[in-house]
């Protein structure tokens, strides 16, 4: 029986890709005060960013409930005997923990393996895609897991924030703040892989995008690139164009960021994921 892949909406995968590869997406939860909304179900991404800017209450995001996972697993378990469930990095979110709890409670006769992607957005999404493609080609559960874990190791995700305002509201910047300077307005460039680490800084958006691009391109043997935006598709197109010029022939995926990174990064956030080729693995 074909292995099926489950992920969460933090993977920021376009719906057509999700459908084509039969991926099951469990929605993250967005909280505006005591209002609980399911990502992309109760709240579109456009609505989210609009409310992020307008709302007096700063939103937070939360893992899907254990119940939501149970429901999803039970539904999929009706169609397969093995599931690989790949999620937002365990250091950023309780999603992996919720998925494991749901698995342990599942009564259906289905094997479920939970993979911590250590990433977010397409850093997670590319691992999900690799797993889903392998599954579609008939790979075994172990090989589907291996496909996901290989991308987890080879992917690097970088972000540039337009402002620290949203990170500050979300209370998520202690370590990042150290690099930021309280006196000058600075746009931080961060690495998002297993944890958020400051990599560099710029004073203008243009310089920040350029610096993130150069940091991303510095990884060797890049075979896949993702460019993600919140509210600035023109910047995503520009970074994609730069990438196509720098790395002709390497596929570039543009994606829309959901609330997971959007809530902390703010509307102007830009993210890039690059995946190194397998040969570079030691």
């Amino acid at each position: 029986m074909t292995v099926r892949v489950v992920t969460d909406s933090g993977a920021d995968l376009p719906s057509e890709v999700v459908e084509a590869l039969s991926i099951t997406v469990v929605p993250l939860v967005v909280l505006f005060g005591d209002e609980v909304l399911r990502d992309e179900i109760d709240l579109t991404t456009d609505q989210f960013f609009q409310r992020l800017v307008d709302s007096p209450v700063h939103p937070s995001t939360s893992q899907p409930s254990v119940g939501a996972f149970q429901e999803a697993y039970e539904r999929v378990a009706g169609e397969t005997d093995s599931i690989v469930s790949i999620h937002v990095g365990a250091k950023f979110s309780g999603t992996v923990a919720a998925a494991m709890l749901a698995r342990d409670r599942l009564t259906a006769a289905c094997r479920i393996e939970v993979v911590d992607s250590e990433g977010a957005s397409l850093g997670l999404g590319f691992a999900v895609l690799a797993a889903a493609r392998a599954a579609k080609e008939g790979a075994s559960l172990e090989d589907v897991i291996a496909a996901a874990e290989s991308v987890v190791r080879r992917q690097h995700t970088l972000a540039v924030l337009d402002t620290l305002e949203y990170a500050r509201r979300g209370g998520r910047i202690s370590r990042v703040e150290a690099l930021l300077g309280s006196v000058l307005h600075v746009k931080p460039i961060l690495s998002i892989k297993n944890e958020v680490r400051p990599l560099s800084r710029a004073r203008t958006r243009a310089a920040g995008l350029k610096r993130m691009f150069e940091l991303a391109m510095a990884y060797p043997h890049i075979v896949q690139v993702g460019v993600m935006h919140g509210t600035t598709p023109e910047d995503a197109e520009m970074l994609a164009q730069w990438t196509r010029e720098r790395l002709p022939g390497v596929p570039v995926q543009i994606a829309r960021l959901g609330p997971a990174l959007g809530a902390h990064g703010g509307p102007g956030i830009m993210v890039m994921t690059v995946v190194e080729g397998e040969k570079t693995e030691a």
Binding site: L179, G181, V183, L184, P198, L199, S200, R201, T204, R211
Partner: protein, 553 residues
């Protein structure tokens, strides 16, 4: 005085280490006599590192070490001098002078006593060593003069087996000629109608040494007591030697104006610090104090009248404590593998650099070039084994490089020539990368900004075809003097008119100790009106001399 031992037969007169020390002490005294005159030789109308003062302070550190060695062996004394010069060197002229002394010491390394031929050989070494001090030696500078001195001494020695006095006399003549020729070699000197100040300093030193050999001690006497400037120097020296007020910055300036009130000024300065000295009359006051807030003292002086000879120096004895305080203040987060030493002056600018992750700050800049020792101590104070130095001024780069070579740590100097360049470089720091990669990243990033620096012209001159009147507000665009206007704001506006292009999105104005927040707000308003698409940020810099430092990126 030459009291050398005259050996029988063909042996030449030889000299001891003690005599070498006295020769250089005389050279230092003569340099002190002439320091103000050398300072007044300045191609640029901007207030920047005074060559005479820098060379004199370098020699003072040199002689301190020479006397401390207490040896009578020439090689030991010369070695001690080289060490003292290396640590005490200030400014580019000081660094080159320290390399001259290093070469000179190498030339005498085997000699407990020396004769004129040894002296000639040491001068040769000195000339070679001086050339090595700079990556691209320029003709028409102290390097040219040093080479002419070595050549003339060698020539004289060959022809006449000359005694030291004759050799040195030939060297002095050659130095004088070479200095006179510097304008023909360096267009900037020709345009300003001056000779090279560093070359002049070297000539003066050699002349002092010759006066000593000739026994002309009268001219080398401590400077006349009735000379108010000299009284001043002695008084302030006494204050420092007496160990008073060893905190903050030693701050000095000269105010010229009308109806100046020494008593009222003294009271105001006592509110700001201690070791206060105020002397002078209604038209000219000289002020000295030790304060943690030099920029406030200077801006008070500015309200009284025209300022000159502003000097702000970190009190040497407190350098280590100062660095410790910087670190203890919690401003320097432990952000990575590489320590960052920043040279900057102005309370606001220091704060910005620290908030961006500078590990240690060395106070200094345009008119107060830090000594190699100060930079070295800051390097050593970093917890990291790898350190990058941001000099932020072209006259500090050479000293920073020398400090880098003197440290056992791995050190790179990223050649930032302005505060905005230093900030752009620091922003590019990647805490996960090592020394070489960060030095490359920061070296590239410093070019991401354009810099405007606005200051008052300290003399009337022509530079690069631009006529500048003393007192005008002049602007340097990326280090090149290009604008002269009659107000600081006009100078900024005209500079931006020349620099702003389509790629620019952000203007940051760092306002100095002499500027007010209100004026700066008004300036920002004027800029926003002309360039509505640009973001304009205002940051308090507190830098001396420069009313505005502006970055465009």
């Amino acid at each position: 005085m030459a009291t050398g031992v005259r050996r029988r037969g063909r042996h030449a007169t030889t000299y001891s280490g003690g005599e070498l020390r006295e020769m250089f002490a005389a050279a230092t005294t003569w340099l002190e006599h002439n320091a103000q005159a050398i300072n007044s030789i300045n191609v640029f109308p901007v207030p920047d590192g005074d060559t005479g003062t820098n060379m004199y302070l370098t020699m003072r550190a040199t002689m301190d070490e020479a006397y401390q060695s207490g040896s009578e062996a020439a090689n030991v004394v010369a070695g001690a001098m080289a060490k003292g010069a290396l640590m005490g060197a200030r400014g580019n002229s000081g660094v080159i002078l320290s390399q001259i002394l290093r070469g000179f010491a190498d030339g005498l390394s085997e000699k407990e006593r020396f004769d004129s031929r040894d002296f000639v050989a040491a001068l040769d070494e000195a000339a070679v060593s001086a050339d090595r001090a700079v990556s691209h030696p320029v003709e028409g500078t102290i390097l040219t003069v040093m080479r002419a001195v070595a050549a003339a001494a060698r020539e004289r020695s060959k022809k006449l087996r000359g005694n030291l006095k004759n050799v040195l006399a030939a060297a002095v003549d050659a130095a004088k000629d070479a200095v006179a020729r510097t304008p023909s070699l360096l267009p900037a000197l020709r345009e300003a109608g001056v000779v090279d100040a560093g070359g002049q300093g070297l000539y003066v030193m050699l002349e002092g040494a010759l006066r000593y050999l000739r026994g002309d001690l009268a001219s080398l006497a401590p400077l006349a007591v009735q000379d108010p400037e000299r009284t001043w120097a002695r008084t302030t020296t006494a204050v420092h030697d007496g160990g008073e007020g060893k905190y903050g910055y030693c701050t000095e300036f000269l105010v010229s104006g009308e109806k100046l009130n020494a008593g009222a000024t003294l009271e105001r300065m006592l509110e700001l610090g201690d070791s206060v000295l105020v002397v002078g009359d209604e038209t000219l006051l000289r002020v000295h104090l030790h304060t943690a807030q030099p920029e406030i003292a200077i801006s008070h002086g500015r309200m009284l009248g025209e300022l000159a000879q502003i000097k702000v120096e970190n009190i040497e004895a407190q350098a280590e404590q100062f660095v410790a305080r910087v670190q203890a203040s919690g401003h320097a987060p432990d952000i990575g593998l590489v320590g960052i030493v920043v040279v900057v002056s102005g309370a606001g600018l220091e704060e910005v650099f620290r908030s961006l992750g500078a590990t240690a700050v060395v106070p200094g800049g345009a008119t107060m070039n830090p000594s190699i020792k100060q930079v070295l101590e800051a390097i050593e104070s970093c917890p990291q084994e790898e350190v990058i130095v941001l000099p932020n001024n072209k006259n500090v780069i050479l000293g920073a490089q020398q400090a880098a070579r003197s440290s056992r740590k791995r050190v790179r100097v990223v050649g930032t020539v302005s505060v905005p360049q230093g900030m752009a470089a620091l922003l590019a720091l990647n805490p996960e990368r090592g020394l070489d990669e960060n030095a490359a990243l920061m070296g590239d990033a410093r070019r991401d900004v354009q810099t405007v620096e606005v200051t008052k012209a300290v003399r009337t001159t022509t530079v690069g075809g631009l006529r500048v009147r003393v007192g005008q507000d002049i602007a340097l665009l990326d280090g090149t003097l290009a604008v002269a206007e009659d107000s600081p704001r006009a100078a900024v506006r005209e500079s931006l008119r020349r620099l702003v292009n389509d790629r620019a999105s952000l203007i940051t104005i760092y306002y100095g100790a002499q500027s007010t927040a209100e004026d700066t707000e008004a300036l920002a308003g004027e800029i926003r009106a002309v360039y509505p698409s640009l973001q304009v940020d205002i940051v308090y810099g507190g830098q001396p001399h420069y009313s505005y430092i502006v970055s465009l990126e």
